[in-house]
Amino acid sequence: MIGFLQNLIDALSLGSLYALAALGIGLLFGILRLTNFAHGDFISFGAYALIVPSLEVTATKFIGNWPWYLTLPAIAALVVLLALLSDFLVFRKLRQASAPTLMIASFAVGYVIQNVILMVYGARPKAIDVWSSLQQQVVIGELRVPQLQLVTIGITIVLMLGLSLFLNRTSYGVQMRAAAEDFRMARYLGVKANFVIGLAFAISGLLAAMVSLLFVSQTGTLSYVMGVPLMLFAFIATVIGGMGSLIGAVIGGFAVGFVSVMCQAYLPEELRSFRDAFVFAIVIAVLIFRPSGLIPTKALVQRV
């Protein structure tokens, strides 16, 4: 029982990461129909921004050395900047483009970011120590939970509440929701297209930055491909949850986190390294029965 509860908290913590990443992706998809394959590389960028550019194996922290109330906004600002830049340089000119074109474009953007990181920081993974004090465990009854996991879950709840408040109670939020549902009509009513889109990229960047910080604290490693599995799982989360639905993205994220942790915990020893394959197989099984996801929206259904 204790073991199960322990795993449950693991699942919530991992699921939170995936949910945050999925939210960042789902937001851009909802408003722009953009599947941003570069999102994982936004996350990598946020993590690498903590250290001084070098090819060394041990990372020298730069921004990573500042107190958390400075590091957080600094990394957030940098990733937001990257997101806005990628919109300005690439995605802005592809507003009317087809879905495959957008997909390849975002893949290209991500690939370039990855290789820039590779060029500047080298291919070897680096060890980094960020907020490792949070690895200390908190004792709750009979459970031993690393502080970091509680922080992760906590931050995720705060961010989701914040996003929800923003979308439902502020004028910008209402405009974003309107734009997500019917972009053209929103513009006819005076909603400023580029502003709303910029806002979406900014929020997406903010979420990516949070994921990068939490992920780096948990794993203690930097690698130029670190964002790829996160991006993939986040996308799978949105697909399971139902593309076009933010709530679906969150639910999908927690679902994928749950399945992943359970597989890790309960698969027999020899099969454990194939955990990701199992997660994927389970996802496929879900999709066979519900191809439009757990919470389908009208976003993808073509009206005849």
């Binding site: 599947t35 394959f37 690439v90 000119k93 592809l94 483009a97 087809s98 879905a99 495959p100 074109t101 997909m103 390849i104 474009a105 893949f107 290209a108 953007v109 690939y111 370039v112 990855q114 290789n115 820039v116 590779l118 060029m119 491909v225 790829v228 599995p229 993939l232 996308f235 799978i236 949105t238 697909v239 593309m243 390294s273 194939f274 990701d276 394959a277 994927f280 996802v283 496929i284 999709l287 066979i288 191809p291 439009s292 996801g293 993808l300 073509q302 005849v304």
Partner: protein, 356 residues
């Protein structure tokens, strides 16, 4: 030779005949002019051409983007490698292989066929599961497929030697062999796109609702294309293994996916001409970038681009093409018939081209 029937046949097959001629010519000239290094580059290019054409067969006709084809290349490569590499080595290193593979050494062509077959079987299973997804979700699923193949193959040590390599694969693939397979895949792709299935698939690409209303079984048609495409990609992978002589899992991941996709995008994702020309052009671009990375001696100093410029350069070029010529340099059209004829009616091939 000038009989109208023969001329009409030539015109009907012109898109693929012209490409076959061009590629054969390029191959012949390169072999005649260059040394061993050129042969290596050439062989690799022709193997990639097989893979890119096979990928185009699915993506170009169905309109669904797939990021997973390199996963099939991996499957095909390893399957063929298992068949032809030294049994003694296999029994020592790949203890998980089934007996019929472990104890025997099979001829090259059989191995290639086996590679394609395994890829096709996996494609059938995977495809059947995800083909019902919307285009975007399906594309995401193919991306995940690539990652899964990479993960499984990296970890299944007893069968793939995990993160180390399979060695000792007979290197029987040179430029001429690769050319032969590239030509075959050209013909297969062309025959497919002119066939009933190709037509139905293109209809579903252009207007899914109308296609369904015309009693086209979209699921079946997409699956057929997906499996056929995977077979050919698997064949390409088998060729690749028998060209390198050594196999590791990490060569079949992001880098190769990006390069092959960029070849399709630069050339034109919707036509065979696009696929072939994309391979030729991007290979050239990569060679140029590689030369810049190696550097030139200017007055005693070496001027060179930093490592990694190749990939970034290719990424930038791909982005530029998407921004300014999204249908590729060929505008996704086939090779145009160069002569004017008295017969003004377009052939079936010309009629099948996209309207813009």
């Amino acid at each position: 030779m000038n009989s109208p029937l023969v001329m009409r046949q030539i015109r009907e097959w012109w898109p693929v005949l012209s490409l076959a001629a061009i590629v054969t010519l390029v191959t012949a000239i390169a072999i005649w002019m260059g040394g061993d290094e050129i042969k290596v580059t050439l062989t690799e290019m022709l193997i990639r051409m097989t893979v890119v054409i096979a990928t185009y067969l699915f993506i170009g006709n169905s309109g669904i983007l797939s990021f997973g084809h390199i996963g099939f290349m991996c499957i095909g490569a390893y399957a063929a490698g298992w068949a032809t590499c030294n049994p003694a080595w296999k029994q020592l290193m790949l203890t998980g292989l089934p007996a019929f593979l472990q104890e025997n050494e099979y001829p090259f062509l059989l191995a290639v066929g086996g590679g394609g077959l395994l890829a096709a079987i996996v494609a059938l299973i995977f495809g059947a599961a995800v083909i019902r997804l919307s285009g975007i979700a399906a594309s995401i699923a193919t991306f995940a497929f690539l990652a899964i193949v990479n993960s499984v193959y990296s970890n299944w040590d007893s069968v793939t030697a995990g993160t180390s390599s399979i060695i000792g694969i007979p290197q029987v693939v040179g430029p001429w062999e690769a050319l032969a397979f590239a030509l075959v895949s050209m013909v297969v792709a062309y025959v497919f796109q002119q066939s009933r299935y190709g037509l139905m698939l293109k209809a579903s690409r252009d207007d899914e609702v109308a296609a369904k209303a015309s009693a086209i079984d979209i699921v079946k048609v997409r699956l057929i294309a997906f499996v056929a495409s995977a077979f050919l990609v698997g064949v390409g992978g088998a060729l690749y293994g028998h060209f390198l002589g050594v196999l590791t899992v990490d060569i079949f991941y992001m880098g190769l996916t990006f390069v092959t996709l960029s070849m399709l995008v630069v050339g034109g994702i919707g036509s065979l001409f696009g696929a072939v020309s994309g391979v030729l052009i991007v290979t050239l671009i990569v060679q140029v970038l590689r030369a810049f990375e190696a550097g030139f001696k200017i007055g005693g100093a070496t001027v060179a681009l930093p490592q990694g410029s190749q990939e970034i350069g290719l990424g930038v070029i791909m982005a530029l093409i998407l921004l300014f010529r999204p249908s590729g340099l060929t505008k996704s059209r086939e090779v145009p018939w160069p002569f004017t004829t008295r017969d003004a009616r377009p052939t079936a091939a010309e009629q099948a081209q996209p309207a813009e």
